[in-house]
Every structure is written in C-alpha cells, then in structure tokens.
C-alpha cells in the first residue's frame, strides 16, 4: 500500500495544478494511495507511525529535499518500508542525486520501484543523507575512539560526506568520508588561505570545541553546538531511486 505525505508549502494555490496532474498520473499507474497533508502543528513522526499501522509498505513524500529529510529521520529501524520522493519545490539537490528531479520522473520511479538500500549518517540525534558541514576553531576530534586529530590553524572547515549516496555508488560503502580543511588566515574571509584538505574515512567522529561549532546538515542550518558525535547508520533505509541511478 502506498501512502503519500504532502509538505506544508504545497497547500499554496500555485501548486494545485501540478499536484492534480501528478495525482491523475498516479491513478493511471495504479499507485495512488491515502494522502496526508503536513500542517504547522502536525508532527511527521505521528503521520508515519499512523501510516505504518494502517499497513503502508511504501511512504512517498511530496515536496523537496527538506521534506525527504523530515521523513528519513522517522525511518531508521524501519527498513522494510520503502521511501520515495516526488520532487516539487525549490531545493532539489538530493533529488538530483537520486535521479528524481521533477514530479513526472518521481512518479515514474515509484511505478518502477527501483530500490537502493543506503547508509545514513548520524550527527547527534539527527540523521543525514548526503553531508554535514562544520566550521569551528580550537577543536579536538577523535576518530573511531582511537585516533586524535588536531589542527594548527585558527579555523577549520570539516565536511562529513556519505559516499553511499554518491552518483556511482551501489549503497554498500561502510564508512563516511571526513574532509578537514584548515584555514590559515581567519580575517580574510573571502580570500582565505587554505591548507590542503585532509581526507579520512571514518566510522565515528567525536568533536569537542571551546568555541561554537556551526553546523549544516544536508545544507540546512542547525543550532550551534560545542560538541558532536557523527557516525554511520549502515543500510538504514530503502530508497526508491530513478531508473538511471546505478544500484
């Protein structure tokens, strides 16, 4: 059974024509199902739990990257449920990675049901699909509970990427890619002098800093923290991907 979750911004009248076209195509393909609209006071976790209780085997979010990220944070430990995205909206970087950019492509992908079991990354209590970006100074990082990393520069950018979601990946990679770029001159923000980037495969990374760590999870800004733990949640989610996607 297919269950559709529409993001809140789709209640605006400008999306109605496209939604109607999409729903008509879903009916034609025989993959239409119950619909739930997210509202300001609706928690997606409750919607997902209700859908699974009603017997949903496939959960499809209709929206953009942020909608998909809301869904994946409800999904770990629910690998038997397939997740999909029909992309309608401004942010579609994740959709492009999954070869799902555009509502027509999304609908066809649901009908074709090509599944890819991917790892998720986890930073503190939030799951991420593609990457997190951190910026901090005076930090100490511990990799896999045994290697200590420090930098000599006043500031550093750290990115943690999920190679399981790379274009040519089959989803079976068992590590995350940690990229550390020390920035030598903090004052020259525009033309900052950067040292070479380090690339270290990790399974777990703990960072503690005396100064706030700015953090972006899949391009979305989150509140600053002073410590964080990032790790891998292996084979955590089954995603419906486009036909052109390897996997």
């Amino acid at each position: 059974m297919y269950f559709y979750i529409y993001d809140e911004f789709l209640s605006h009248p400008k999306w109605q024509t496209r939604l109607a076209k999409m729903e008509s195509r879903l009916s034609l393909l025989g993959i239409k199902g119950p619909v739930n609209h997210l509202r300001p006071l609706t928690k997606i976790t409750e919607v997902v739990t209700r859908a699974i209780t009603r017997g949903a085997k496939t959960l499809i979010v209709v929206g953009d990257d942020r909608t998909l990220l809301k869904l994946i944070n409800c999904m770990p430990n629910r690998k038997k449920i397939a997740c999909g995205l029909v992309c309608l909206g401004p942010m579609n970087k994740l959709a492009e990675t999954l070869y799902l950019d555009g509502e027509q492509v999304g609908v066809e992908a649901i009908a074709a049901r090509k599944l890819l079991c991917v790892n998720l990354g986890k930073v503190n209590k939030t799951f991420f699909l593609q990457r997190i970006d951190l910026s901090t100074s005076k930090f100490t990082a511990i990799i896999d509970d045994k290697l200590i990393i420090k930098t000599t520069s006043p500031q550093s950018h750290i990115s943690i990427l999920n190679p399981s979601l790379a274009y040519n990946s089959r989803g079976d990679v068992d590590y995350l890619d940690c990229h550390i770029t020390p920035i030598k001159n903090r004052l020259l923000a525009v033309k900052s002098i950067k040292s070479g980037t380090s690339r270290i495969p990790i399974k777990k990374l703990t960072i503690k800093s005396q100064e706030p760590i700015t953090i972006r999870v899949d391009q979305e800004k989150k509140p600053n923290v002073y410590s964080l733990t990032a790790g891998i949640a292996p084979q955590a989610i089954n995603l419906i991907v486009g036909r052109k996607r390897i996997g």
Binding site: I143, D144, K146, L147, I148, I149, K150, T151, T152, S153, V173, D174, Y175, I180, T181, P182, K184, S195, G196, T197, S198, R199, I200, P201, I202
Partner: protein, 127 residues
C-alpha cells in the same frame, strides 16, 4: 580503521596532526604529522615537510619527509632528496636520492623479480 575492499587514498594534509595507531587497507599520503604507529597494506607517501614519530609498515613507500622510527616496507622504498630517516629500514629494494639523510641500518633482501624470471632452469645431466 579503514578496512574496505575498494582502492582508496587517505590524505593527511598540511597543518593536521594525528595521534594514535593508524592502520588499514588502501594508500596513505601524509603532508602533516603523525605520532603513532602506521601499518597499511598499500602505498605510503610521506611528503616534504611532514613528520612521523613512530614505526611505519607498508607495501611500498616514497619518503620526502621526516621519520623517527622503524620503517618496514614489503616491496620498494624511494628516499627523495629531502628525506630524513632516524631508524632502521627493512625492505626489498631501496633507492636513495642525493641529499637524503639516514641514521640507522638498511636491510634489503636484494632479489629483483626480473632476476628471478630470467634465470634459466637447471637441467639435470642426462646419462
């Protein structure tokens, strides 16, 4: 730490310091500093200006930086002109560029693959 089947490169850039034992498959390029034992099954490149204070074990090595510790390399070692090694080196074959500094023993087994392949098979004399 990074045990995976596909070929991959770990890079420790300039300005980054690592403390602890570092091991796994794949290759390693070092331009920063490591304090701790390094044991990898691939190629290690120690760039100019980088330092390792510990024992190193790899399949092949190219050294242009500073090592203080024992270096055990299964196949070949190239010491470039800026290399400085304080410790013993045990390897199959070694190349030392002019200007490289070594303070320790060098032990090679010296057999090259071409020598072994081209040696004629000895035939027993017929009666």
């Amino acid at each position: 730490m990074f045990e995976k089947n596909e070929h991959s490169v770990t890079i420790i850039g300039e300005g980054v310091k690592l403390e602890g034992d570092f091991s796994g498959q794949g290759d390693l390029e070092l331009y920063g500093e490591i304090r701790g034992n390094v044991a990898i099954s691939g190629f290690i490149k120690i760039g100019r200006g980088s330092t390792i204070n510990a024992n190193v074990s790899a399949e092949r090595a190219e050294i242009a930086g500073y090592i203080k510790g024992k270096l055990v390399v299964k196949k070949d070692v190239d010491l470039l002109a800026s290399a400085e090694v304080h410790g013993d080196i045990k390897t199959h074959q070694i190349t030392v560029a002019k200007g490289a500094r070594i303070s320790g023993k060098i032990i090679t087994d010296g057999k090259s693959e071409t020598t072994e392949k081209s040696a004629p098979n000895k035939k027993e004399p017929s009666d």
